[in-house]
């Protein structure tokens, strides 16, 4: 047994402690939870060091299920990709645990919160460590459970309970495909552990590979909120903000990207599957970005932005630029966690305000939050020098060489991204204050336990790009590190084309931010005009393209009506009607027969006489 098992074991132990002894631990829950994840981060560093020079190792824990020739074992598979994911999950996880100690300080369910959060880190670490598709699936659903529990953490709010359930069910729809994909994979390959599967996929017939890959991708669409299964993520913002940062931005939702990248051998066996992945990613990237343009809730802007950025990652892996996709996953984890935590700090400092229309002018009262969140926003927008610039440009360059239409759409998405990010930052921090005097009076900066994670994430947003993502002829540093996992993508670097692409994307970003400045900074903001749909297009975007309403009208209601009909008319009316009808028929027949038993001797004599006559007539007629 290897020490990698310490990485999941620590948060699991933390979760169990807070579950079983939560009452005793109470307000000290963070003393269990934060060190558990921090130590898991250190253990991840150890594991990372083992794969620093490439290579991989496995460690098996126990055989889980055996049935005939079906076998699934709990095994860990660690290679550079796993190492990167482990660092992100436990690193960002530890920062957000620390932040939570401040953010959730007064909450009644303090121990329960940290128990769930630790349980999530355990599940996510196992998802990343898993060396077997079925184990991956187990923790794939386990992170979904944690998400369900944490979205519905404030369970007395109907909207939170509703959103938690919606997240679980929509994810189940995706997992329906994921599960079938795993069944098919086993039927075709006869094994589910990574080394065997990835060795044998080369022998799969392309249609089989396409089928399996698309089914697995269906699971990724659910988990990573891609079209058409994206609808749960914006609603998931009902959960506490640190949860949105950790689960619904930095880690869990990227599991789909990780899974596709991990299974790239399978996806490459089928060109169709990769093309579908890329197009779904591109479509989602643009779709969600357009919705982000008009949202008024700061967390919803960020949620649609997450959906959109995940689309970029899928576009990257879809065109085969796996390292670029994973690099964007990493940088996005930093700057999006930063943005969510910054938003959380704003919400904390304004006494629970999430509406951009009632913010403004926070830059003077919340300096740290303003600086760090702005860094995160510029990172997201793709301002040169910051992490998002490098990782997004890497994707745009790769897509440009694969498909011009996709590239154009992603460039449009980049424009939208720059616009909604600028809009959010201006409305929250830089425009004139729009809150009531009373509310403005209470605005305050968050405590150090919350601002320290902000500073660290801001630092990471600044340095990661330059340190790891600078393009070179041999690929980025990050891509070279992952060269043992993914072949280096062949997109030509350097030269005039690459330079042109970079200039173009800088221009687009500048245009987006400038437009936002004109709309929300150069003139005083009229809050009543922002959230009201002025045009059909605006209404369309405000309602998120009416997808939720479409699903409700086309799927939820008809199914409920059908179920109601089946339960009443069919089950009680028809089936049970037949059953009871048979019973009644027997009773009726018996009642009729009973009438014969009148008790009058005369009747019996008469019947006997009739019988004798009939009998004689029968005999005579022969």
């Amino acid at each position: 047994m290897s020490t990698v098992w310490l990485i999941p074991a620590l948060p699991l132990a933390g979760a169990l402690l807070n579950i079983f002894f939560g009452k005793l631990i109470g307000r000290r829950a963070h003393w269990v939870a934060v060190p558990a994840v921090a130590c898991a981060f250190l253990a991840s560093c150890v594991a990372f060091a083992r794969v620093w020079h490439g290579g991989s190792f496995t460690s098996s824990l126990f055989t889980w299920i055996v049935a005939g020739d079906f076998e699934a074992s709990v095994i860990a598979y660690v290679d550079p990709l796993t190492g990167v994911m482990l660092l992100v999950v436990t690193g960002v996880g530890a920062l957000i645990h620390l932040y939570s100690a401040g953010y959730m300080h007064d909450d009644a369910g303090y121990a329960r919160y940290f128990a769930y959060l630790n349980l999530f880190v355990f599940s996510m670490v196992m998802l990343v460590l898993a060396g077997d598709f079925l184990v991956l699936y187990v923790f794939w659903e386990a992170v979904g459970l944690c998400s369900y529990l944490l979205i519905g953490f404030w369970y007395t709010r109907p909207a939170a309970a509703q959103a938690g359930k919606k997240a679980f069910i929509v994810n189940r729809v995706g997992d329906f495909g994921f599960g079938l994909g795993i069944m098919w994979l086993w039927t075709a390959v006869g094994a589910l552990d990574y080394p065997t599967v990835f060795k044998s996929v080369a022998t799969l017939a392309p249609p089989t590979a396409t089928g399996i890959a698309l089914l697995l991708f269906m699971g990724a669409c659910g988990k990573s909120a891609q079209l058409p299964l994206h609808t749960w993520l914006p609603d998931a913002m009902e959960g506490p903000t640190p949860v949105s940062a950790l689960i619904h931005a930095a880690t869990m939702v990227t599991a789909g990207v990780y899974m596709v990248a991990r299974s790239h051998a399978l996806f490459e066996r089928s060109g169709t599957a990769l093309e579908v992945v890329a197009w779904v990613g591109v479509a989602t990237a643009v779709f969600a970005a357009t919705i982000g343009l008009v949202q008024t809730d700061i967390k919803r802007v960020l949620a649609y932005s997450t959906v959109s950025q995940l689309g970029y990652m899928f576009a990257a892996v879809g065109v085969g630029a796996y390292a670029a996709g994973i690099f964007h996953l990493v940088t996005h984890a930093f700057f999006k966690a930063l943005l969510f935590l910054g938003a959380g700090s704003v919400i904390h400092g304004t006494g629970g305000e999430q509406d951009l229309r009632r913010m403004g002018g926070l830059s003077s009262r919340m300096v740290t939050t303003t600086i760090t969140t702005t860094v995160g926003g510029l990172g997201l927008a793709g301002v040169p020098g910051l992490a998002g610039f490098f990782s997004k440009d890497e994707i745009l360059a790769a897509v440009y060489h694969a498909n011009r239409a996709m590239w154009a759409l992603l460039l449009l998405g980049a424009f939208c991204t720059a616009f909604y990010t600028g809009r959010m930052l201006f409305l929250a921090f830089y425009s004139g204050p729009r809150m009531s005097k009373e509310a403005a009076h209470h605005v305050h900066e968050s405590p150090p336990v919350m601002t320290l994670p902000l500073w660290i994430l801001a630092l990471l947003t600044v340095v990661t790009g330059v340190a790891l993502g600078a393009p070179s002829d041999a690929g980025t540093r990050f891509a070279r590190f992952l060269a043992g996992v993914f072949p280096i993508h062949e997109a030509p670097h350097g030269g005039s084309v690459a330079f042109m692409l970079m200039v173009l994307s800088v221009v687009v970003v500048a245009a987006g931010i400038t437009l936002a400045w004109f709309m929300y900074m150069s003139t005083p903001v009229r809050p009543e005009a922002i959230g009201r749909p002025r045009t059909l297009v605006h209404a369309f975007l405000l309602n998120a393209w009416y997808v939720d309403r479409l699903y409700d009208a086309a799927i939820v209601r008809p199914l409920l009506a059908l179920s109601g009909y089946l339960a009443r008319a069919f089950d009680l009316g028809l089936i049970d009607g037949i059953v009871n009808g048979l019973g009644r028929a027997v009773v009726g027949w018996a009642a009729a027969l009973r009438r014969v038993q009148t008790g009058y001797v005369v009747n019996y004599a008469l019947t006997m006489l009739a019988g004798v006559v009939l009998f004689l007539a029968f005999l005579l007629s022969r």
Partner: protein, 526 residues
């Protein structure tokens, strides 16, 4: 030859008879004694597990005594890897059922505990009998105590439900009796040995054709009603809603398994050709039941009815697994029987607990319970998650194996069945949301007490097994693998359907080379 199996089987009844002499005013003594007897039976049954050789497919702990030699009837009992788990499930759930009635049953308590103990003997008898005559005696005898449990201690409409339950079951089992006699005479005529001994009968096979088909159908009808397979399920919601909690736990936990057990023990080995021929129909009904049961559950207003209909869905999975005739499907099916007994048994226990507190089971009467009864809510969540097949808990292991087995036989059917997993999340989580989450909407709910020590003691063992099977199912599947392997081999070697044509019908041997199922509904993907 030890008499352990007989001891396990008859101690409950003997204990029940001993309780006849306890005066009825000593309610506490009656309850305690009955619970101790049931726990003793559980303790007695544990050596069955530890002494059972999982590598052997033979019957173990066999006992055979002369009973009516002129008729070829003997007292022949024994267990294999299938019945072992069901015997343990029965001895595990009976003490829980008794404990659930601690405060709920006050009227005719003495009769109640005796009835439950007698019922336990009946149920165990069904699982251990290796003689068709003996089996039939237990099968019918078990109906009587169950009839009383529903009809005497049930809800408002109990008589209707009890009569429906008994008549429905009897209708099926009478046909089975005819088939048992037919089998007896045919075997006697063919071999000269007139016997009801299952082991002897199973070595021989009725010539394929109308006779075997009819016998299969007679057995299958009796078992299908018991399972219940769609569309023979309408007795179930009535029986569950009217039955007291103890009755529901036993009904869902054990009695339903007798149907699926019957298919495994009798239909498959005795009538292999007919089983293969009618397999597609059984599977079709099973898959319809999976989806149908889930849909109908969704719209129920009464929690107990919701759980009752969910059984139709869950047992559909078991039937699907059995008729895949693959090792995965069968192992999944058998472990899913245990899972359903635990999860649904626990659901009924917990519905009973809130019913005792509020005297209503309508979802609309609840809401916001987490605030008042957090421990109850947390355990209820675990049980709900187990029932909806969350990986890491027991339900997933069974469902996944069943589906993986089914996928190899027919991907399309497996896909339809897999939608049942989505719908399970819908009806269970929606119910959970309305009962547990939100603000308290009814003042009566504000002062509910949380779990009592007795209730903790009932639920914790169930939750332990729910997690255990989810994390390390080999403890249980390891005992049943050899039996099921032998069963598949038996069906394949005895049936007259030529194997080769079956393999050719599909894509031939799958790419991995594991053996194709004999099931004739094979429609593999290209």
């Amino acid at each position: 030859m030890t008499a352990l199996l007989s001891a396990v089987t008859f101690v409950p009844m003997l204990g029940g008879l001993a309780l006849v002499f306890v005066p009825r005013r000593r309610a506490g003594l009656l309850k305690t004694a009955a619970l101790l007897i049931a726990l003793l039976v559980f303790a007695l049954s544990l050596p069955l597990y530890f002494g059972f050789d999982g590598d052997s497919a033979d019957f173990q702990f066999e006992e055979q005594r002369v009973w009516m030699p002129t008729l070829g009837v003997s007292y022949h009992v024994g267990i294999d890897g299938i019945s072992l788990l069901l015997v343990l499930l029965t001895t595990f759930l009976t003490p829980l059922a008794l404990a659930s009635a601690w405060h709920a049953i006050e009227d005719r308590l003495k009769e109640f505990v005796i009835t439950v103990l007698v019922l336990e003997t009946g149920m165990l008898g069904v699982f251990v009998s290796l003689d068709l005559f003996l089996f039939y005696v237990f099968w019918e005898a078990m109906l009587i105590p169950m009839y009383f449990i529903i009809g005497v201690w049930g809800g408002a409409n109990r008589v209707y439900a009890a009569v429906k339950f008994v008549l429905y079951t009897l209708a099926g089992s009478l046909l089975m009796l005819v088939a048992i006699l037919a089998l007896y005479y045919r075997h006697g005529a063919a071999t000269g040995a007139y016997t009801f001994d299952l082991v002897t009968l199973a070595r021989w096979v009725v010539a394929p054709g109308l006779a075997q088909d009819l016998m299969f159908l007679a057995f299958a009808l009796a078992f299908a009603i018991k399972v219940p397979l769609f569309p023979f399920h309408t007795w179930l919601p009535d029986a569950h809603v009217e039955a007291p909690t103890a009755g529901s736990v036993i009904l869902a936990g054990v009695l339903l398994k007798m149907g699926t057990y019957g298919f495994l023990r009798f239909c498959l080995p005795l009538f292999p050709d007919a089983s293969l021929a009618f397999g597609p129909f059984v599977v079709a009904l099973a898959v319809v039941g999976i989806v149908y049961g889930a849909w109908v559950s969704t719209v129920q207003a009464d929690v107990k009815k919701l759980v009752a209909y969910s059984s139709v869905s869950h047992l559909g999975f078991v039937m699907l697994g059995i008729f895949t005739l693959t090792q995965q499907g069968l192992v999944g099916g058998v472990i899913q029987m245990v899972n359903h007994g635990l999860s649904t048994g626990a659901l009924f226990l917990m519905v009973g607990m809130i019913y005792e507190r509020r005297h209503t089971r309508l979802i609309a009467d609840f809401g916001g319970l987490w605030k008042v009864v957090p421990a109850f809510s947390a355990l209820f969540l675990i049980v709900v998650l187990s029932s909806l097949g969350l990986p890491g808990l027991n339900g997933f292991v069974g469902e996944f194996l069943i589906l993986v087995g089914a996928f190899g036989v027919s991907p399309w059917l497996a896909a339809v069945a897999t939608t049942g997993v989505i719908f399970a999340a819908v009806y269970l989580l929606w119910m959970y949301q309305r009962v547990i989450f939100g603000e308290i909407t009814h003042e009566e709910n504000r002062a509910l007490p949380d779990l009592s020590p007795r209730e903790w003691a009932m639920l914790v063992p169930v939750v332990v097994f729910i997690v255990w099977i989810g994390v390390y199912p080999m403890t249980f599947t390891g005992k049943t693998e050899a039996t099921l392997e032998a069963l598949i081999a038996q069906v394949q070697s005895k049936s007259a359907v030529p194997r080769v044509s079956l393999a050719e019908r599909g894509r031939g041997a799958p790419e991995s080379g594991h053996p194709p199922s004999a099931a004739v509904w094979r429609t593999p993907l290209p």
